[in-house]
Assembly symmetry: C2
Homo-oligomer: 592 residues x 2
């Protein structure tokens, strides 16, 4: 090796040893006859010392030519430091340099290579290889490695086997858009990149692999929202001869294992909630349960505490529900107006916001005092379980819409009240998702059709199978999501493993028998040769890592991410290709 030690390992024990270190110049301090250099590598920082007494003039002169990010090798003796630096692990020592080699000089980097940098997003993306030198960015990727490692250890111990499934597969019409790859050897034909290895992992169950996993790249050609990437990584798992309960236990175990190994946290048992309950109590299929502020329905299926007082807005509403924000009765009129404007923005689209203040003196004051007397308001306050000092925020409307709006309000208030700390982890299973959802037909927007909420291979609950013919929208699936801090981290389902049921499902989704056979014939055929009951789950690996890192953006946990236009600005990709290359692939560019 070109070094005897890393920049993170020298201690008082090493004093008097001769060592050679290699790394990057982090900082140079020149004080008269003395020169100090902080030398950096992945493992830490070590202080190098050059002084008149021990260094030759040539050495000092060379050292004075160094500046930030030069790559050097320095040989010298470890000495005890006069004034220790407690902030770094090597702070008790320094190296008095006797030989210095400049391995590579460096231009001044376009931004500071420090924990806090002065570089903007675009600049840091263009020079990603420099941004990756910064310790917070590198630590994110080290954490990612640890999450992968402990995932594998856990699953390996349970006799899961990692199997690589192909990247060049077949395009399928269902779901998001595929990336495609023209085949040179099969002119006019295309491979597709997998959105997930779904059918392959099911085939592996048919093959008797029993327990499969893979940490695997997947691809989706969708318009990129702030936090989507065209290529992303999944922890993909499947098991045979199991029930939903077995999957929940096995993968709750995985999450608990990861929290323990990566965050040194003992998770309590993970609570479970049905989709229907989650929607009712939180207005979301991925509720953030780090805090309460659950929905209280003043008017709904179970009761009506609002009607008959001539308040048309409530009287005409299907649902009147609200949340109780602790300690917010002190909100000023201005604050409440601002909150009302916030919720009326088109992204959320509420018509307005009703409030009831439960003042510290016990009195109640609302924006609907014209319609409701104090006795009614007190009834509401009881329903909310409100205490003096609390603020009740109430929305009326069509049930689904009002719940969605109230969910946004709840999350906003949770944020404002500091209830959503990234290092406070609350994990939740959401169960019993609907099997199907109704949507516009892409090819003919005037009509609608059923779409699979999870995917077409998800099994309905056995007790709901009869509803497939009569009320498809009411059929619940054996599908489950794992939610951490309001973020969907994983999801899966018990699969259909019988050909007839799978065919029925395809028919419901608008496939003709021929289309189903053309697209998924291999799977339908496989089901005829002895398919076992099986179920599985997939976790968004980038997302999981960002949660463990306490950071919102997945981009910070991907070594070389793409921007919102799907571009890698560092390597300048995608890019045009040569006409000869297109000719070989039997394709042409056809700009519209």
């Amino acid at each position: 090796m070109l070094r005897t030690h890393t920049c993170g390992e020298l201690r008082l024990d090493h004093v008097n040893q001769e060592v050679t270190l290699c790394g990057w110049v982090q900082k140079v301090r020149d004080k008269g006859g003395m020169l100090w250099i902080d030398l950096r590598d992945r493992y830490g920082l070590t202080q190098l010392l050059f002084d008149d007494s021990s260094s030759t003039r040539e050495l000092l002169e060379t050292a004075r030519t160094l500046s930030r990010e030069f790559v050097i090798s320095a040989k010298g003796e470890v000495i005890e430091r006069f004034s220790k630096n407690d902030k770094i692990d090597t702070g008790a020592i320094e190296v008095r340099v006797t030989e210095l080699v400049i391995l590579n000089p460096a231009k001044l980097p376009p931004f500071l290579i420090e924990d806090e940098t002065d570089g903007g997003d675009d600049l840091r993306m263009k020079y990603r290889y420099l941004d990756l030198r910064r310790s917070p960015v590198r630590k994110n990727l080290e954490l990612r490695h640890q999450v992968a490692r402990h995932t594998r250890n856990y699953l390996d111990d349970l006799r899961f086997i990692e199997v690589e499934t192909p990247v060049l597969i077949k395009s399928t019409p269902e779901g998001a858009r595929d990336f495609v790859v023209p085949s040179r050897m099969n002119p006019g034909e295309f491979y597709a990149l997998p959105q997930s290895p779904q059918t392959f992992k099911q085939l592996l169950m048919v093959s008797g692999f029993d327990r499969y996993y893979q940490i695997v790249k997947c691809f989706r050609d969708e318009d990129l929202r702030a936090d989507r990437q065209p290529e992303f990584t999944q922890i993909d798992c499947e098991m045979s001869f199991v029930t939903q309960e077995d999957i929940l236990n096995t993968f709750e175990g995985l999450i608990r294992h990861l929290f323990l190994k990566v965050k040194n946290l003992e998770l309590p048992e993970v609570p479970r909630i049905t989709y229907a309950e989650a929607m009712k109590r939180f207005g979301s299929d991925k509720p953030d349960i780090r805090f309460g502020m659950e929905f209280v329905e003043l008017k709904g299926e179970d009761r009506d505490l609002t009607s008959g007082k001539d308040f048309v807005v409530f009287d005409s509403a299907e649902l009147v529900a609200g949340i109780c924000a602790p300690g917010c009765a002190v909100y000023t009129r201005k604050q409440l107006d601002e909150l009302t404007e916030w919720i009326k923005r088109p992204q959320i689209g509420a018509k307005g916001l009703i409030y009831v203040r439960y003042n510290e003196d016990g009195s109640l004051k609302s924006s609907v005092d014209k319609f409701y007397d104090e006795a009614t308001l007190r009834q509401w306050a009881d329903a909310f379980g409100a205490k003096p000092g609390d603020l009740m925020l109430i929305l009326p409307g069509e049930t689904d819409k009002a719940r969605k709006q109230l969910n946004e309000l709840r999350l906003e208030m949770g944020t404002r009240l500091g209830y959503r700390k990234p290092d406070n982890y609350r994990v939740l299973w959401v169960l019993d998702f609907p099997l199907l959802e109704y949507g516009e037909d892409e090819t003919d927007p005037s009509t609608g059709r059923w779409y699979a909420m999870h995917h077409p291979f998800t099994s309905p609950k056995p007790e709901d199978i009869a509803l497939l013919d009569t009320a498809p929208g009411k059929v619940r699936a054996n599908a489950y999501d794992l939610v951490i801090n309001g973020v969907e981290v994983g999801g899966g389902s018990v699969r259909i493993f019988q050909k007839e049921l799978q065919q029925k499902m395809f028919a419901l989704l608008g496939f003709s028998p021929e289309e189903a056979q053309a697209q998924f014939g291999f799977l339908l055929n496989a089901f005829e040769f002895g398919a076992p009951p099986h179920a599985g789950i997939a976790f968004g690996f980038d997302r999981l890592c960002s949660l463990f890192g306490g950071v919102d953006s997945i981009r910070d946990f991907i070594a070389f991410p793409k921007n919102n236009s799907g571009r890698d600005v560092m390597i300048d990709s995608p890019s045009p290709i040569a006409p000869q290359q297109m000719k070989e692939l039997s394709i042409q560019v056809a700009l519209s």
Copy 2:
């Protein structure tokens, strides 16, 4: 779980326990009032027993409907077996079934699901999910998992960090053909799939990651020879601040670790040979050193034992060299003729084959007795170190050609003599490859140009740098291959890390400065901001697994391989895509 135990775990200890097993019906034997079923899962086989005395009539009737590959669940009591079966781990017991559920019936599979099957290649590829049920195929993939697992353990312990590099990258002109992916969001532009993460791992070194690895899919759109796949997996590694010696030691350690963990074999120290020496002694840059039969030069650089006897064939040859096949003096004329025909085939292209028999009685007999007296032949035999009973086989010709032909002959004789047993492992480092090789220019076949033998980022040996300007073909690279049993399993190099040298290399390879900047500007720029000395290696993971498995074909170690036309015949891919999809991607099919 739907089962209490797997089909591989019941022993005498379990006798009298009530258990439930799930699996596939392997075999049914019906003998009067008794019925036995072998139930199979990934973990083993267990015998189920149904009999008149303990089973109800309904149960027996249901059991009689079972046939091969039905998926069932069976509950019953573990009993000691009357006659034990030592061949299987569960052979001491059987399960007397009291409840039977048919989880899924099965059509008769198109070939036998046994260790030895009656299915041909095409049929087994089409029904790959059934072929994967066969124990030898499944074991290959289990071995693959173990190789990956132990690779990660070894590298993790050495503080390597696994970093995922992107799959959607930029097309580059050098090397093999890229697969490309049209970008919908960037019309007219394309991503490419990586042939290797080469530039990204070098950028990670520039980023200070110090030690990187990745077990990663790579892609090459090449015409597929028998044992190539369009997508394949690499163990990709890179280290900073190291010399070639450090890489050799680190990865010799990896290989030794894998042999120990996967094969329970202690490897001896891995010998090293230079490229030049390998060519001289074996005629190959990947010599199979499981056996000797090294080349002996009768006429070459060092001596000439053939000239001056009027044998024009030898006199006009640049090289006369041969091998000595032990015990083959008994070869009949017919056998020798057949061997001569074999080596004259166009694939090898030798003009003929000269032999000298060293008979058991001590006499020498050759096919060139007309020209060479016994004294000369005896001189040759001494040069070969031949013993009575040996056969010397000699080829004349132009040095490089003759060596290649003689390499084929040596391997063939090694096979015939049984010297090439798959479970006898001999590992070898081949060092000091040439940096460049001269070849035809693809765009203008009338001229030639230099090509990088390894890749354009490989560093020349420092002592050979001066030759870059005067004799590029003589420049040796700091490049190395790991060879096991005559198969190149891994290769790598010390990299160029200085911009000027990298630019010079691109210029030698025929890139204009503008082309070099357009294609690799990000890397050249990165080298200006403090690039450390670095070096790396990549192993062909599929190949490595097939070697550990003692099997020639990598296809057997890939779950879902493609055929020689790059087709996945199981899912029928590649396939045409919808016109709408092409429109969105701004491409058209243009068949020529």
